[in-house]
Symmetry: C2
Subunit: 246 residues, 2 copies
């Protein structure tokens, strides 16, 4: 393992070498692994695959009509995302989200998002603020008629926009990882918030503080907002845990 230095760079994740027409979409890559991973993820998030249930490679490969190889890779991908866990020689299992996990995730989110907000307060553009405003409006709209899943997705989007506004890509990546993990649990939570309208409302103080570029107020608002969400989720979760199995 010595001499090696082939490809100059990788041109990285920018598909910007396109003096092309700009007319065509990149054809939907057959990419088995991605498709399989997406389907398994969907099954987990929707609750069709319950936490703790086993994933056998052979069965999955038969369902997808492929060999075991791409299924294995997809499972490993999901493992790195925290959606499934694996045990040597025993296979893959859908991740179970313990109360302790949820506590840790929310406690971490406080530090992460407060930091993101404080970075954003100096960097955020008017355009990004408008985007956050529209996001809250979307949540209000869904509060009356949308499904719970949709509401949660839009909530995730709001917080993701906030993290993105920090300008720190690595931070955003951590948020995405946490969001993916949390998606494991949302299928369990039948009704999350007593009032979806209230959920939308609680985002307003964050946006206000951003508009005013008031760092202290912003930090407090973000912290308060996440703690409130944490309280509801933890309570609801322990309530579900109390009643064992359907």
């Amino acid at each position: 393992m010595d001499k090696q230095a082939d490809h100059p760079e990788m041109a990285a994740a920018n598909g910007d070498d396109e003096p092309a027409t700009g007319v065509f979409h990149t054809i939907s890559s057959t990419d088995l692994v991605t498709q399989i991973a997406r389907q398994i993820t969907e099954a987990i998030v929707s609750g069709n695959l319950r936490p703790g249930s086993r994933l056998t490679e052979l069965q999955l490969s038969r369902e997808f009509g492929t060999s075991r190889a791409p299924v294995r890779e997809a499972a490993r991908l999901l493992e790195s995302q925290g959606l499934v866990v694996s045990s040597p020689r025993r296979g893959f299992f859908v991740r179970t989200l313990e109360p302790q996990d949820l506590h840790d995730i929310y406690e971490l989110r406080i530090g992460l998002e407060v930091h993101a907000a404080l970075l954003a307060v100096d960097r955020i553009t008017e355009h990004e603020i408008d985007r956050l405003q529209r996001q809250i409006e979307k949540m209000y709209a869904l509060a009356d008629e949308g499904s719970l899943e949709q509401q949660i997705m839009e909530d995730f989007t709001f917080h993701r926009l906030l993290c993105a506004a920090s300008g720190n890509r690595r931070l955003l990546k951590v948020y995405d990882e946490l969001a993916t993990e949390m998606r494991c649990g949302i299928a369990l939570i039948g009704r999350l918030f007593d009032s979806a309208h209230r959920l939308a409302e609680t985002h307003e103080p964050v946006l206000d503080a951003l508009r005013e570029r008031d760092a202290d107020k912003l930090a407090a608002a973000v912290r308060f907002h996440i703690v409130e969400a944490q309280d509801q989720v933890v309570e609801l979760f322990s309530e579900i845990s109390r009643r064992p199995k359907p």
Copy 2:
């Protein structure tokens, strides 16, 4: 994809069902994937495999005396850790750490470790404080005679202990991810700190503030310490970038 709910739980990561003799060690599983991943990691961190260089499955499998399958899995594992990147149909390449990446990582570390420290200030035990003290002493000892790599490893350990003292496992996991990524770059940095003694010294204020349980002082100390490290690393890194290739 419907009925499935096999294994009850997983008994998770506790190997505490041992009414055994307590005499034997668990035999080191041959586990090819882990061994391969470890060797590749070692090669990357030590600098034998330079950033941007290509990893071909066939060549690696020949070197390790295995088939391509375990090599693939190991590479995917390393990809999830951020040590390598992959491009469809093109294969794996050793991750290149851009100045922007380093900036993001350190900026994130500030938020992460300040948060960890503030959580730890209420939770940390005397025993853990002693452990941190010994860690600093170890750094002093290595400052005079140790290799640069050793010093950096001990520095990582200190910060890891701090994150662990937060009591938040998910936070610790994020730190580990960041540490792994940073290891990509340390091979490039020939001499990191002008004075290794200085490196050890700068940890003292953090420990002092922890001892006094002074939250404000602690936050400031952690922030200052990381910013100082960031300054040195970024400067050194851009200096290296200026001079293209050996």
